[in-house]
Amino acid sequence: MSTKTTFTGHRGLVYEEPLIFERSRDGACGVDLPEPEGVASRLGGMERQGGVGLPGLSEPEVMRHFVRLSQKNYSIDAGFYPLGSCTMKHNPRLNEKMARLPGFSDVHPLQPQSTVPGALELMSELARWLMDLTGMPAVAMSPKAGAHGELCGLMAIRSALEARGEADTRTRVLVPESAHGTNPATAAACGFTVDAIPATEDGRVDLAAFEAKLGPDVAGIMLTNPNTCGLFERDIRKIADAVHDAGGYFYCDGANFNAIVGRVKPGDLGVDAMHINLHKTFSTPHGGGGPGAGPVVLSDALAPFAPLPYVTSTGGELRLVEDEQSSDADPFGRMVAFHGQMGMFVRALSYMMSHGSDGLRQVAEDAVLNANYVLASLKDVMTASFEGPCMHEALFDDRFLKGTGVETLDFAKAMIDEGYHPMTVYFPLVVHGAMLIEPTETESKETLDNFIACMADLAKSAKAGDKTRFENAPELTPRRRLDETTAARKPVLRWTPPAPAQAAE
């Protein structure tokens, strides 16, 4: 990139943008609200003391500020986003339009139920799709995200154990080493102890080690399938049977459902509970880190303990059950105010209806095909961690970088200069310097071919000793590598007004 310096600090279309607080001018405002009439206050003497300290900006200034900020972000709409484990697929705009229909977006969660039959119908219809696609008899809709869904599933398991009188004795949850960090964190939040299961050479659960860990104190297993190495757990039926025989339950982390939707029903695999990330498999946008949604499908053994609220049908009429008194089941409690991520439900159903049952099967097939195409094309260029076909994502490790002085992180940063969002790096933890590539089904062959060629070129550079291409990367971004050490040692988490002496300068 040109090293030309500019008067403004901007560089062509890349603008330096201060904080809104630094752009503030007294008297500026981005809304026109009527003046209050001056009705006598009923605040009871609890008026706020002094100002809030918010900045003043007009509407065009706010618009420009946030447009400029947006231009510093990478996005799936602009480029390939092969972030393993995250399923960064195309987000259809029809879904956005549907979620904004006033009948969905402008409805209050505590309106009389008689005024929201369409909302209940939507929840019920989405539930039907989720149950059918997973082959499970029940679904809890309210969890707000994947990790929240995990918590829901484990709470249901704990409740089922309690009903059996074994809550105090079955306190250990088995979690493979390759699991997402949320799994052990969730188990701990639910009062369980966590016991790690090692992986085999071929990236799956070590069945013998797993069986050796089973015992009368095991509450269950949390297993991601396809797993975080992008592999289908071949022994999954044996694992399910073994944990059931030992009196435990099978929680399946459904983060990677995109690989099997329409081709495999988790219900056929012996699963007792599985969350579904609507923001992964069913294309609701990631939004820079949320909001997501994490409905949990449940087996007959766990269904009675599903949390409040839930939609039920009596005589063809839908009803929302919001409290224990009106429930004929045994709900374990409530995870959230109101009824879940309705806005995400609409988007997900819009996506499902668009694809239909035939299209969803094609989704899984194309996702798996794309990942295997990347794997096959790069396995001699980079080092594939495991033999054989992968599912929806391909795992590589840093062996091909050995002796080059280039590390996984440097390699990822060099991809940024090439216009790619890096793959997931250093996860899963079971291989060294992991690079997990998930192309998803919404990428064309041409995109993949270009990406493969770029990765090959980068690998060649690394092996040829061109360290500067990596060590200094990224060089072409709005910001280069940031000092994360100082950020963590002396956290600055908010803007504070400059001291008066400095302001006078």
Binding site: R48, N73, L94, D106, A147, A293, Y373
Partner: protein, 448 residues
Amino acid sequence: MRYLPLTPDDRQQMLGVIGAKSIDDLFVDVPEAARIDKAFDLPPHQGELEVERALSAMANKNTAAGSVPFFVGAGAYKHHVPATVDHLIQRSEFLTSYTPYQPEISQGTLQYLFEFQTQVALLTGMDVANASMYDGSTACGEAVQMAHRVTRRNKAVLSGNLHPHYRAVIETTSKFAGDAVVALDADVSGGEDIASQIDGETSCVVVQYPDFFGRVADLSAIAAAAHAEGALLIVAIPEIVSMGALKTPGDMGADIVVAEGQSIGNALNYGGPYVGLFATRQKYVRQMPGRLCGETQVVDGKRGYVLTLSTREQHIRREKATSNICTNSGLCCLAFTIHLALLGEQGFTRLAALNHESACKLAGALEKVSGVELLTPAFFNEFTIRTPKPAADVIEALADKGILGGVPASRLMPGNEAVNDLIVVAATEVNTDQDRAAYAAALTEVLS
């Protein structure tokens, strides 16, 4: 299928490169018994027009808040959101990006998170805030867990006038974590004695402000009582607009403030997605849950932003994390940031004043209806009335007349006879004089 770029030719070529005969070769690891060949009992793919038609039909069965005189609150509020907000949050770079784990190409998201954290700290009168949680209720649950970590105790004391759903979330979390909860009974008179429940084992006291019934009361004495026993004060704010008019929890000694941020920038959405606000004192920052964005520098001296203090989080700390939460409420938090930037100091305080005025006018009108009693003398934009008939019936009768008149307390506190005749009523800047007059007239008819 419009969302899938691969053509049949592409697929054949790619299978060739892989060395697979058919797609089934790639699914060999799936146990045979679990492979599905038959179609599902679900409809096939459809075009935009058909999907839009079907979903619109469902949406049209619901009564939209904007189509009627609307006074429902109790944790979610109908406000006007400027057009700019929805336009900006739908920009590709915000809508379709992931969590900002690669800061060099995520400065847009990171900078607004930093602005958001600052806004939340200012609103609540606290030192620091995180980059948002799922919603107010889960933020409240997380606050209790954090108080346990800070105090190394595990008994929470909950005000009876905490939103029943917030209470249920805390009780559910605590039940499984093995923590104790002491929850007082609801008391619309505002006479509850929470201080007497605090002892040397109490980790925190949780109070709502304004409370579930809309009452505004000073919390300084509760803060002092909690602190005297080494406990923390957690304040939950369901209506964040109130912070434009009311004394902040920070000023009254709160240690953790959680809030529902839906009112700023976000639609009602039948309950979600919303945005949880979470603020605390500087000294507790390493015990906070959720993502945090921090300011730092690039090698060349330029200012930039990164996610920081990640060692608290599940992806590093696993079972020792401060929370199992992996996401924030990114896009809702962006909507909040933009709307509040548009409002600014002048707009936000005026919005609060207009809300209070709307509620004062409505309370004045409803008080005059025969048999109706106003039970909350001091309030912000929400108050509670007692009606001579069961509240649930009154609300249904009002709905039949095209007025959504509030929430019967019995819906959220089933089985509590004492609240059967109470309606929690909210009024905001969207309500007109006509709306308020229509409510008073309809209520008069329903009660006569």
